[in-house]
């Protein structure tokens, strides 16, 4: 089940009403919300619920074992086993086909007849997010940052439907305290929640899907059929599409959680306005960045151990971060490009090279856009064709005023202080609940009118 569907429009009001009705009786509310979340998840495939339950019980058992022991070596062994099992689950479901194909290719080219069995295993939706959240729970127990929760709290943390399928990656230490007591029914950030849901809908359906349909998909499918003006516009268009698609989902997730009384961390903060790569990763998919920092980069040694080791750690972190996005070479290369950019930026900073702000912005933004071409293209060959066509003069066949205005507007808006949107949010928050509801209905109708007969494509981050 996904947010902008009739099924969710029926599911959510029922769950919202029952959730607040049961909130004061936590021993009833928790099983209810757990059941609702599993119903939400089972809409994709009921069998995936078994995997979710398995991850939950495995990590809960590991956390209890870790917490129950003072033997640091034992605690360490258990956490390593738990993390390995989590990653093995991710590996089997997400990376097995990629791994088998590549290993077979190497064996074949070496003349060794030992093919690894090929299989394309069904990918449970949201598995990357679920596994990462499970890791934060178990590792934070090991680090004594949190204590193990009750099994139902742990299950609720991992399955809570607003963040279940595409994040944001909520840390156990952020979510568990919110389960400690009933949410206050007199203190609901209603206006902020509704505003985020409306903004998310507009971003996803009206902006991201329109850009995909009108320019991004056609050009990325057959770049050789287009020349520089169209190809360049498609590259910028994809940057805006992926931002609106993913941040739109996040906005809806955060807004939905707010209506239920829960707070999620922010996931995007005007990333296109960044003037350094470091800043970019503090503004783009923030919850993934901090996961990679806290659970990969720092354990690898972080910036301790000199420049070379720091550069190595950055490259490993970003390349694996790329691999997390997809089991193919495009995302891996995309991650490596960002790793190299971060290392290069540090190199120049240490040598005192600090160009003007506009030039820094220009470099960061355009490296980001060009790297996304490799990320999006279905093969490296198509990505190279795409990049090559950027130098091919020719007519602008896909340039229309609305498309160009949306792309320029979305980029430019993030480079200036966001006063207009903040003011709009404040105004919407002041509305009477009836007016708020009517506004939301109006936005849904307006957004629905922009849906083409080709349908609503799935969220980009669902495949991760």
């Amino acid at each position: 089940m996904v947010f902008p569907t009739v099924e969710f429009a029926i599911f959510f009001p029922i769950v919202l009403a029952l959730s607040w009705a049961l909130m004061s009786r936590q021993q009833v509310w928790k099983p209810f919300m757990l059941a609702a979340s599993y119903v939400f998840y089972s809409a994709a495939n009921p069998l995936f619920c078994l995997m979710l339950a398995g991850i939950t019980l495995g990590n809960q058992a590991a956390s209890k074992l870790i917490h129950g022991s003072e033997d640091e070596r034992f605690r360490r062994r258990i956490v390593i086993a738990a993390v390995a099992l989590n990653l093995a689950t991710l590996g089997v479901f997400k990376y097995y086909g990629f791994f088998a194909t590549e290993v077979n290719g190497v064996l074949d080219s070496a003349g060794l007849g030992l093919p690894v069995p090929l299989a394309a295993i069904a990918l449970p939706i949201g598995i990357s997010f679920i596994v990462f959240q499970a890791i934060t729970y178990t590792v934070d127990v090991k680090r004594r940052v949190i204590e193990p929760a009750s099994t139902i709290d742990a299950a609720l943390y991992l399955s809570f439907f607003p963040h279940l399928v595409a994040g944001p990656i909520v840390r156990a230490r952020e979510f568990m305290p919110q389960l400690a007591a009933a949410r206050d029914p007199r203190n609901v950030a209603l206006g902020a929640g509704i505003f985020l849901i409306m903004v998310g809908l507009v971003k996803k359906v009206a902006v991201a899907d329109s850009l995909a349909r009108e320019i991004v998909d056609p050009v990325f499918a057959v770049p050789q059929a287009y020349s520089a003006p169209d190809v360049v516009l498609a590259a910028y268009g994809y940057a805006v599409q992926v931002f609106c698609d993913f941040s739109g989902y996040t906005d809806m997730a955060i807004g939905t959680a707010l209506l239920l009384g829960f707070v999620f961390p922010q996931n995007f903060r005007s990333p296109f306005g960044s003037t350094s790569f470091r800043e970019l990763w503090q503004r783009w998919h923030i919850t993934l960045s901090r996961f990679l920092r806290d659970f990969l980069y720092i354990p690898l040694g972080g910036n301790r151990g000199g420049r070379r080791k720091t550069a190595r750690n950055v490259m490993i972190t970003m390349t694996l971060g790329g691999l997390w996005h997809g089991a193919s070479w495009g995302p891996v290369l995309w991650g490596a490009i960002h790793g190299a950019a971060l290392v290069g930026e540090q190199f120049f900073r240490e040598r005192g090279w600090r160009p003007p702000m506009w030039l820094r912005w220009f470099i960061v933004f355009h490296v980001f856009v060009l790297a996304l071409v490799i990320f999006r293209a279905s093969t490296i060959g198509i990505a190279m064709t795409f990049l090559g066509r950027m130098l091919e003069p020719g007519p602008a066949t896909l340039w229309t005023f609305p498309i160009v205005a949306v792309i320029v507007g979305m980029i430019a808006y993030q480079c200036v202080p966001q006063r207009p949107l903040d003011e709009l949010r404040v105004r919407i928050e002041q509305l009477h609940p009836v007016a708020l509801g009517a506004s939301m209905a109006a936005v849904i109708l307006l957004v629905a009118a922009t849906v083409s007969s080709q349908g609503v494509p799935p969220f980009i981050y669902f495949q991760f």
């Binding site: 029926i10 607040w20 499918a221 050789q224 707070v263 922009t450």
Partner: protein, 343 residues
């Protein structure tokens, strides 16, 4: 000064309301949407595959549709939001919904005319006929047609002179008119006069269909198959434009899972039946045998001497490698029917 724990999340600043206000707000939105979009919700429910979700959507959709029919709000909303529409809404003739869909017989019910293109000149020792030039190719269907459409477009882009139009309609089905009415869409497609049409559709087909007498048929008995084949034949007939165009209809490779396999078996049988009187211009390309010989699902197959994964992890769609195999078969067939096809 102690530093604040960054993992204790602040609630957004701004006005606070009560939970009952949240329910009122969401309730108002739901009521308005039901009043305005009731008939759409009812149609969605009618054409969903059977299951709990369909039952729930229908339980809401039927009364919502009843109320919506009695209010002018739906038309008013359509006219107010029409300016935002991408402009591809199908309103023309030829729709399947509520239509008495009879299988068309070419030539107004007369036996199908036997035309020269039934015969392979080489096979009967005759001089080769002049092949037409392919100028415009339409690749369409549901999600099955992706990424085949892009693969074909890339192959033909280098040929020169061939324009490939890609028009996938995700989540649609011939047996459902909810998102797209393929009867109407095929008429709209044909009006763009493609020389050839590649159709790959059926992944979602299993929706209940209504006969002209109002009887609802559930997938996948002979009655359902006959009605489905009638729709397919009408689309084939529309696309072939009285012989001016060639149609390449791809059968579905068998998916993973017994339930879906039953659907595909029925859909493929219906495609074969539908194409029979139109074979001179409608080629059924048997992807089922290529990807799933013996109707048995397989993830990988040997391509150019190498074991290659050809199916998506969902067990339904072709992955890019599979699409390359399918595209090779389609271009081979195009080469036989048109001149100057590279590939």
């Amino acid at each position: 000064m102690t530093q604040k724990d960054p993992y204790i999340l602040d609630r957004p600043t701004g006005r606070r309301l009560r939970a009952r206000d949240a329910l009122l707000c969401v309730g108002v939105a739901v009521v308005l949407l039901v009043l305005i979009e009731g008939p759409s919700i009812r149609n969605t429910g009618k054409e969903m595959s059977s299951g709990v979700e369909r039952t729930v959507v229908r339980a809401v959709g039927e009364p919502a549709g009843w109320v919506g029919d009695r209010l002018p709000l739906s038309d008013a909303a359509d006219s107010m939001t029409g300016w935002l529409s991408p402009g591809d809404k199908l309103t023309g003739p030829g729709g399947f919904q509520n239509a008495a869909v009879a299988a068309p017989e070419p030539g107004d019910g007369a036996p199908a005319p036997i035309t020269p293109d039934y015969f392979d000149s080489a096979a009967i020792g005759a001089k080769s006929v002049q092949l037409p030039k392919l100028r415009k190719l339409l690749v369409t269907g549901d999600s099955m047609s992706q990424p085949l459409d892009a693969e074909l477009a890339r192959r033909l882009a280098d040929t020169g002179g061939v324009r490939t139009v890609r028009d996938a309609h995700l989540g649609t089905a011939i047996s459902s008119t909810d998102l797209v009415d393929w009867g109407r869409l095929s008429v709209s497609h044909a009006s763009q006069t493609p020389d050839a049409v590649v159709m790959f559709i059926g992944a979602n087909d299993a929706f209940p269909m209504t006969k002209p007498d109002g009887k609802t048929l559930n997938c996948c008995g002979p009655d359902w198959a006959a009605l489905y084949a009638a729709r397919v034949r009408r689309m084939m007939d529309t696309y072939r434009r009285d012989g001016a165009a060639r149609v390449y209809w791809l059968t579905l490779p068998y998916p993973r899972g017994a339930v879906r396999q039953k659907i595909v078996r029925t859909v493929n049988a219906a495609i074969a039946v539908a194409a029979q009187p139109l074979r001179s211009q409608v080629r059924v390309l048997d992807m089922a045998s290529v990807f799933t010989p013996g109707q048995r699902f397989r993830t990988a197959m040997t391509v150019n001497g190498k074991a290659t994964i050809v199916r998506d992890p969902d067990g339904i769609h072709l992955n890019p490698a599979g699409a390359r195999v399918a595209a090779e078969l389609v271009t081979a067939r195009l080469r036989a029917d048109f001149k100057s096809i590279g590939g």
